[in-house]
């Protein structure tokens, strides 16, 4: 099984030089720690910055420079700052090459639910609906099952949707999967996890073709 950092590390392997990338809160944020060598990507934070850098040194934090998680950040050389309407114009206009975000449920057709649990207090969708409705390349980072062991990869989402037919790839603690027109296609399995384990933990249609290699993380 992968831990949170290893999920992030595996997702980082998907990065390509020159991409603009939006990372959601939680595991996705960790992806920034594992950018492959020789590759340069630019991180967008949807409140209004391209070229988000690491956290500031102690004492150098600036209340006027935060990310979408409201954390104090820094700006890299070549950064640009803009208003939120422009920021979402970038997102909606498909200028961001990769969006990584968490999910509560993903359906075998790529629907995603990650903002609302009926009966529980709703905090809001923030930028998630804009992100999933527009991005061509969406990777979901999440655990394969919930705390009770129920699969989060379903035939149909049971929770209120964030977006439809939008997720392209899923990296969980157990596996890497593509969302295809025919269902979840198993690409890789976590060390120590068998194809059968994954099958059991996947409620939606799982496509298993040929040998399934183990996830490799350096």
């Amino acid at each position: 099984m992968l831990n949170r950092n290893e999920i992030a590390q595996r997702i980082a392997q998907e990065l390509r030089d020159g991409w603009y990338v939006n990372l959601g809160i939680g595991i996705p944020t960790l992806v920034a720690n594992y950018i492959p060598e020789g590759i340069s990507v630019v991180f967008q934070s949807e409140n209004g910055i391209l070229g988000m850098g690491p956290f500031p040194y102690e004492g150098e934090e600036d209340a006027d420079l935060i990310n979408a998680g409201k954390q104090t950040i820094t700006a890299m050389p070549g950064a640009s700052i803009f208003d939120s309407a422009t920021s979402f114009a970038m997102i909606r206009g498909k200028h961001i090459q990769l969006t990584v975000l968490g999910a509560m449920e993903v359906s075998e057709t790529g629907d995603i639910a990650n903002w609302k649990i009926p009966g529980k207090l709703v905090k809001g969708m923030g930028g998630a609906m804009d992100l999933v409705a527009s991005a061509d390349n969406i990777i979901v980072a999440m655990n394969h099952t919930d705390k009770r062991g129920n699969s989060k990869l379903l035939k149909n989402c049971t929770l209120p949707l964030t977006g439809v037919r939008c997720v392209k790839k899923i990296v969980t603690n157990m596996a890497v999967l593509d969302v295809t027109p025919n269902g979840f296609k198993l690409l890789e399995r976590a060390p120590g996890v068998s194809v059968e384990d994954i099958q059991k933990a996947t409620a939606g249609k799982l496509i298993i073709e040929g040998e399934i290699p183990e996830i490799t993380i350096n």
């Binding site: 209004g48 956290f55 500031p56 004492g59 209340a63 006027d64 409201k70 954390q71 909606r92 930028g127």
Partner: protein, 232 residues
Amino acid sequence: MNKVVKNAEEAIQGIKDDMTLMVGGFGLCGIPENCITALVKSGIKGLTCISNNAGVDNFGLGLLLQNRQIRKMISSYVGENAEFARQMLKGELEVDLIPQGSLAARCQAAGMGVPAFFTPAGYGTEVAEGKEVRWFNGKPHILEAALEADFALVKAWKGDRFGNLIYKGTARNFNPAMAMGGKITIAEVEELVEPGVLDPNFIHTPGVFVQRIFQGEVYEKRIEQRTVRSKN
């Protein structure tokens, strides 16, 4: 032409019970602190606030919530606020949650004279309920309407007597779109300068969108999530 008013109290003249306000800021970053303080003092009630967030319990719009001055919030994310949660669960507060990008675009659209536009955000979700759906280039979109507000309260870094504004860092966020969108826009700034001081080529919000401007007395600029790394 002189849009300068003395202070926040003078700036908010004309805001009345049951009006709709756009309030700039993202989290606690770039919020019109002095106008909010003046609104708290005013006791104006029944407000509808269009603002990405609702502040925290004892700062930002949270102060108006505590004081029960807000009837309805139109926001994208309202997570950091226990009093907010309490009022919402008790049905004392109406909440309209809309996607963050659509929120910004709908505020801006009001200022641009665009009454409605098609966007893919929210299609297939409860956000789309009751809205027109149309397909463009093989993809479904929903029709979103401009959001209207009686007043917009925005916060900038520097501004001049003509209402020209520049913002600092990500404190820009929703402020430019809301400055455009408000029927009357009140700008509070950290530093008020004479016309000609700000470079015309680098104005973020042209003064035409601003009706009143003043230099705020105090800026606490509270940090919501102080994240740092150590120098070692």
